[in-house]
Amino acid sequence: MREWFADLDRPVELFVALGPEETPRAGAGDADFGAEMVRLCEGLAELGEHVTCRVEEEPAGFPRFPAVSIRPDGRDTGVRYDGLPWGYELSSLVGAIVEAGREEPTLRPESLAALATLDRDLALDVFVTPT
């Protein structure tokens, strides 16, 4: 992971939003999700000088807590992870950091061309579990 983060073209900020948490589904564990999120993101920030972590309590624009916004150059581009990305899902957060740190997107040219045809905003929510 250190090598991936060392290759980033630009800084990436992990903006952690903390606040009241919903009672998780039985079996999700009794972890302090907010504290774990801070620990996780601070730990990731220690792995590369281009990755930083900032924590705020109940910032505007976050409907669920904890959450982390992955911000290239500190800009909010609408990429967020709601909940603690543990287990296999940690790779999604790491992948998002690596992508955010690239100047050039990694989608194929034909995919970029298709996205360029969008003439309105599009909100994608992807439900995941930490399997």
């Binding site: 948490e21 919903e22 009672t23 998780p24 589904r25 079996g27 999700a28 999700f33 669920r64 992955i70 290239p72 581009t77 609408g78 990429v79 967020r80 992870y81 709601d82 909940g83 603690l84 990305p85 899902e89 999604s92 992948g95 998002a96 992508e99 955010a100 997107p105 990694t106 989608l107 194929r108 034909e110 995919s111 970029l112 298709a114 996205l115 360029a116 045809t117 969008l118 309105r120 905003d121 599009l122 909100a123 994608l124 929510d125 992807v126 439900f127 995941v128 579990t129 930490p130 399997t131």
Partner: protein, 64 residues
């Protein structure tokens, strides 16, 4: 999940949020999440499961 993130980084029109289903059971129930990944476009559940990049783009753009 990464395709959604990559799409959002590539386009100012697109936002992408991963939602940990077990931590937010109320929302998961509202959207009928029984399998993951469940992809929701503009608040509407669209499909479950991972698909290749070209198909992912085709489906999200068809949903607009």
């Amino acid at each position: 999940m990464l395709l959604a993130f990559r799409s959002a980084f590539a386009s100012e029109r697109v936002t992408a949020t991963a939602i940990e289903a077990n931590e937010f059971p109320r929302l998961s129930q509202e959207l009928g999440v029984r399998a993951v990944p469940r992809i929701v476009v503009d608040g509407e559940p669209r499909w479950d499961g991972a698909v290749p990049e070209a198909e992912f783009l085709r489906r999200i753009l068809a949903a607009t």
